[in-house]
Symmetry: C2
Subunit: 394 residues, 2 copies
């Protein structure tokens, strides 16, 4: 019998697997063999969910909160997120504009489904978080990844967008702080990009999933200057809730009804226990904990920024946020992918090669996720130093 | 300022809101006013999640199971689902083919993204669960809803598929037991449809989310006769875990890699605490509980099938499964939608009008969800009887 003879949709040709997954699998295999592995490859905080969140989740289960919620989320949580914007950023957002989703991933899916017709143009930076491009490929967009570098802190600018805009472009996509570079877009620049998008009757999407994890200057939201942007966020990173799968989309008022219709159909609703647990993420007892974690990340970043240049790993721009450093390893190798593979085998240090994020010059770059404490980071750097030294001797 | 001037994607014209949501909102408003409302409109079991599932969820949280899992789910759960197929249906399914998703909704999304190119044809029955059509609209399919009635128990047949197949059709879509009709497709008919799809090099998708909730004869899976079908399932209904948002897709071997790539990008992973909790859904202590619930549903169904005809609500086919009865109310009204609205206002009984499920003849039909106990169902029927009597007097 000729099984499953149907062919897959052509979009699959534009959706690549994550290279880091192969590396991660290899790292786990080495670990299973008893090797001590330093995981600096995965985009997940090492901190557990805050105790108050765990307790609230358990209490929700005990109270039988296990049924479908309204498609856009429980009203209490939408209000708590709105209050968070007010408290942290002084912006007032109507809770009706906040749609609770299964992770920022769910919010990106909603935004892409809302905007992108097959063949529509989407402009985004290269390097970028690979899923952000793939959500657009999912709806058969014509994706334009514009190579950006240290000159613009790896971000698009209004000037670049204007100079590279194509007639069929309908969406301008940013992330701030960004993955894999950790860089932040300033409010004036955001305002200009929003203005440009408006001129073009295009949409501006800003992925703010690393919001709150900012170490130089204040943390901002695009909503301060662009009430009409589509803003993506999540409980995954700042709030330490990756596995709960909870995030949100802030939709412009004009599109609330359409977003709700999509959410109803695509998700039915986000996880109920997760929604009740997330209420505790904003509690007064959790705030100091999250602030302490932010300071711990800042210390790790500063440590790495001080030490990496000594090894010949260049960090041409200072990443103000997230928990990533994008390093130029071109002085050490012509192919960062193979270099990462060899580094893992030789030393047990797992990093992510640039190829997962960029199409242009990707072989120059690696991403370090500083998701372990300073002593472990120091251990990782020592191993990398020995690895580099040994290669030099060959 | 001209806010959010971008227009939405054209697929939004093909994705309708659920009418039942307006009815549900009205029902809740009446409830808030102190009215006693009988909820027979929502597709959610009235039983809470099994105690062992709740406890396992709490234990997972206590153990810090709150981080991302592998994209296709934790291996233990994929194996437990495979073992379930073996035990219940005697079919052996490689756990590698089982992809754990955020609800059957997530599985439907994966399947649609896997198969449907913009403009591809999809054949499905009318009436149908509205999201199943909307997942196809999401990927800009050319949907062909074929009107089916009591003659074929509201299901497509291989004969109908063959007679109505269009050159660009690439997917044949079924649900068994179905929503809104509760009818089941027999194994021989499934085998013929699978054979027909193979001939056409098309895919066969079978939504088995109500599997296990079957009251006449044994519960089957399409996998018994079609190893190459895409099979959708969920912990929502039989296992009583709607709000946890957990389901699965069984993918044909040839497409595992592509499905995994999609899952990685679209979801990252399903909820971690939900996955650990779901392990307890298969535990020996939970099985008798689920069986007792199945028997309770059967009793409710039998009660309604006995009583509804006395009121002039016709049930032309016996629904063997799910927890729905699709009733012909054409003897009572020419417009089931208005009839449902008036019934709710007058009596507090909430039902779903056919319009949510069908395009052809929808105004003839209503769906009753038997998600409350027999005494409450009896109360609902008494109110409906009075409502009909009063209208007759007008
Ligand atoms: C930039 C960016 N956006 C979105 C996501 C999705 O995260 P989640 O779905 O867990 O909220 C990630 C995860 O790493 C990310 O780095
Ligand atoms: C036929 C059918 N398929 C899929 C679903 C999706 O359910 P879930 O995402 O909760 O698994 C439903 C829910 O009512 C349904 O009736």
């Amino acid at each position: 019998m000729d099984y499953a003879d149907f062919s897959v949709a052509s979009r699959l040709a534009h959706i690549r697997p994550f290279e880091v997954m192969r590396l991660l699998a290899r790292a786990q295999a080495l670990q299973a063999q008893g090797r001590d592995i330093l995981h600096l490859e995965v985009g997940e905080p090492d901190f557990p969910s805050p105790p108050a969140v765990i307790e609230a989740g358990q209490a929700a289960l005990a109270a039988g909160q296990t049924r479908y919620t309204p498609a856009c989320g429980i009203p209490e949580l939408r209000e708590a997120i709105a209050a968070h914007y007010q408290r942290m950023h002084g912006v007032s957002v109507d809770p009706a504009r906040i749609v609770v989703t299964p992770g920022a991933s769910g919010a990106l899916l909603l935004a892409a489904a809302l905007i992108v017709n097959p063949g529509d143009g989407v402009l985004m930076a290269d390097p970028t978080y690979p899923c952000n491009a793939h959500f657009m490929a999912l709806f058969d967009a014509d994706i334009h990844r514009l190579a950006v570098g240290p000159e613009t802190r790896f971000q698009l600018t209004a000037e670049l967008a204007r100079a590279n805009w194509r007639a069929h472009d309908r969406l301008l996509m940013l992330a701030s702080p960004a993955n894999p570079t950790g860089t932040v877009v300033t409010l004036p620049e955001l305002a200009q990009m929003a203005e440009f998008a408006r001129e073009q009757k295009a949409a501006l999407l800003v992925d703010e999933i690393y919001q709150g994890l900012v170490y130089d200057g204040a943390s901002h939201t695009a909503l301060e200057v662009a009430d009409d942007a589509l803003v993506i966020n999540s409980f995954s990173k700042y709030f330490g809730m990756t596995g709960w799968r909870l995030g949100w989309l802030v939709a412009p008022e004009a599109h609330i009804e359409a977003v709700e219709r999509l959410a109803q159909n695509i998700f039915l609703a986000a996880s109920t226990p997760a929604q009740y647990a997330a209420l505790a993420a904003f509690s007064p007892e959790t705030q100091p904990l999250l602030e302490a974690r932010r300071l711990a990340f800042a210390e790790r970043r500063d440590f790495l920024l001080r030490e990496l240049p000594k090894l010949g790993l260049k960090t041409p721009v200072i990443p103000e946020g997230a928990f990533y450093i994008y390093c130029d390893v071109s002085a050490l190798t012509e192919d960062s992918f193979t270099w990462c593979e060899e580094l893992l085998e030789a030393t047990g240090v797992a990093l992510t090669p640039g190829r997962d994020f960029g199409q242009t010059d990707a072989e120059r770059w690696i991403r370090i996720a500083y998701t372990c404490d300073v002593p472990r980071l120091a251990e990782g750097l020592a191993r990398i130093a020995r690895f580099i030294e040994q290669r030099r001797m060959l």
